[in-house]
Subunit: 391 residues, 2 copies
DNA sequence: CTTGAATGCTCAATACAGTTGAGTTAATCG
DNA sequence: CGATTAACTCAACTGTATTGAGCATTCAAG
């Protein structure tokens, strides 16, 4: 991800305002409907300040008046909520063979989605295809281009040449360019670039099961296995933007030590099926096989449970998340089976009586998870305070 | 750690100032000696704003004028540096059998340290002992109490009752109290509470080998094995303050899968030695055995290398840190031997050509690492922007 | 039903902190 | 030696948030 977003450090009047605007929007998102006095209490700002900011937001169409509150005595508050039509974000996922795109509104609802095939992955082809795809999907969604907040782009990681680079999954022709800047220039809007797992994790936070969670880990079944960690509401990116490569950690499996994604991933189950002559290229295929109780698939699930459980113990003890979420390009049925099947270790910091959420949950599934997550990255930007801080 | 520090969200004039002060101090610390124009460029503030802030800091005695710069043409800048005497922090480490304390100055230099035995771990005994110890060490260091910025306290984790709770290492009598608030009230100063590994990691950043690193992982050899992760200059705490319990993750060792700290920790080496009738309670004992090439110790080192290497691969792929640092209550000689002995996996996001630092390094070692780290937590506060942000 | 307390909110004045623009000083370069 | 570059200061300005007075609306107690 090459940490694009300009890291601004000092606070001044302008940046304070933008910071507070993001905060107020975040509070409104979190609460659903909320009055100004409550926002002020939650944010440590004066009522007057919140009042000024909300009237700005109202004028900009980002929030709407949603009636009066009732509880208790005293003057009932005016309640505000996000305006779904207040802004939109495009999400784009670039794969070696296709481009996926989707549009999310400010409330995180999907407005449109598309899949276009790619003949080549060179920069020109991708850029031209993307421009046409953008126009197409914006028209299809019937929204005004002015209301686009930006675009999120998901590309195969890891970024830069690392020990995990792998010509099969990487995009040739993109090694020597910063994709964030490239797309920002060509699309003419702010662009965030992330890997699939991080984007999918953000989707859970914006419109999924993790809307009220600040610290969680998301295990993403893509081609391999990815991890997105959100800590205190922020994506954990790592020094070079490559954090979360969980697929490559060594885990025990049937007495041996193997890389996690060699036994727990979409590719691994498809390989296991193929060895028995079963072809299951799509998520729907897998769903069908699962519903039919296919023995090869069931055996794979049994085998995968142990290393997956080990991986979750590792995640819990290293990150101490509120929960671990399983999602991505496997059918919901299989994800749910895995969640039910896995015996979580008792030797974990996550084994505590005062938990508010289960240790393991299923999140969004299906092929579009990462694409919509890319858009969620942009939507999230609106809700996050802007004064970045580095020591 | 019970995330004490009041999480303020909104920005106003007062908080902006304090934020910018922290930022400017952080820049000065990072650079060593720096002029106002450079600070302005690094922070995105105007020269005038930086000028106002530095003159405040100068007046408060936090920084000092350190002559003029020379390079290039134009008016040479006035260079500022941290004033070591500008402030002090007390670090305290509470163990079941003793209290350690140390004092650090603003530059992270150790001014004094002490070890006092404990007869009991009940709240009263510890609190009373701590108050006397504080007075004693402040007198010994010969500093003014007014210049104390606060205290950092290291206590055995994990915090709260979890699946890892273990009556042998926990402190009885502290389950139902928030230690941060308790100590803040009784010591009459701001208090930060952390576990040993996190504190030690912060020590590396304030006065150790990681002074210019923003994202790194610190493997801490205490009783067991702990992990402190600093990401973007902040400690990664986890949802319940228990992140970094790396000692309990499953790793392969000699064909079996075991909890990491059962084979890689001070306790594990001491147990191995004891089984052969060798008693080595202190760090110095271990150093002596290592220098003598003791065969039991050497065998243990050989055995530990494989699981430790696996753990480092996990850390690298999950956190993508700039480096991994080994430190804590083992002699420097053994840490260095381990760093040299470990064969790092090539299948890691950290295996990249453009690295600025080695993948594995040794940090501070010895019994006081965590104690001084506790003080470093407080010193660090001075250097960090204050506008906290939660979405 | 009246009165008072509690609560949400507005308006106008104020304060704080950073920015801007016009100098001043001090070094290097040609 | 003059032109140029760069750091810095001074004073006026601007943007945001805060403060305090006051109004509106609701509930509850008498």
């Amino acid at each position: 991800m090459i940490t694009t977003s300009d890291i601004v450090l000092g606070a001044n009047a302008e940046r304070s305002r933008s910071h507070n605007r993001g905060m107020v929007l975040g509070q409104i998102r979190l609460a659903g409907r909320i009055g100004r006095a409550d926002i002020a209490r939650a944010s440590g700002l004066s009522i007057q300040a919140v009042s000024n900011i909300t009237s700005d937001l109202l004028e900009d169409g980002l929030i709407v008046d949603r009636g009066r509150g009732t509880a208790g005595r005293g003057h009932p508050p005016v309640l505000y909520a996000l305006n779904p039509d207040g802004g939109y974000a495009i999400g784009v996922e670039i794969r070696p063979d296709a481009i996926f795109a989707g549009i999310l509104n400010l409330c995180g609802e999907t407005i449109a989605s598309e899949r276009w095939s790619l003949e080549s992955t060179d920069r020109d082809t991708i850029t031209q295809t993307l421009l046409r795809l953008r126009d197409h999907i914006v028209t299809k969604a019937g929204i005004s281009e002015r209301k686009l907040l930006g675009a999120g782009v998901v590309m195969p990681g890891p970024f830069g040449a690392t020990g995990l680079s792998d010509s099969e999954s990487d995009l040739p022709g993109w090694e020597d360019v910063a994709p964030g800047r490239w797309f920002a220039e060509h699309l003419g809007m702010p662009v965030l670039v992330e890997n699939d797992a991080n984007a999918a994790a953000m989707a859970e936070r914006i419109s999924g099961i993790a809307q009220s969670l600040d610290t969680f880990a998301f295990l993403y079944f893509g081609r391999g296995l990815g991890l997105g960690v959100i800590a205190n509401g922020r994506l954990m990116a790592g020094a070079f933007g490559n954090a979360g490569e969980i697929g490559h950690i060594p885990v025990p499996c049937a007495g041996r030590t193997v890389p996690l994604e060699s036994v727990v991933s979409r590719l691994s189950v498809q390989r296991a099926l193929q060895q028995q002559g079963i072809d299951a290229p799509s998520t729907a295929d897998l769903d069908r096989l699962f519903a039919a109780g296919d023995p090869v698939l069931m055996t794979w699930l049994d085998t995968a449970a142990e290393p997956l459980s080990a991986a979750i113990t590792i995640l819990e003890n290293l990150f101490d998340p509120e929960t671990v979420i399983l999602g991505g390009a496997l059918p919901q049925s299989i994800l749910e089976h895995l969640v039910g099947r896995i015996r979580l270790s008792g030797r974990s910091v996550s084994e505590r009586a005062d938990r508010l959420h289960p240790r393991l949950m299923t999140g969004a599934s299906g092929r579009l998870t990462a694409t919509l997550g890319a858009a969620a990255l942009v939507i999230n930007q609106a809700f996050v305070p802007k004064i970045a801080d580095l020591p």
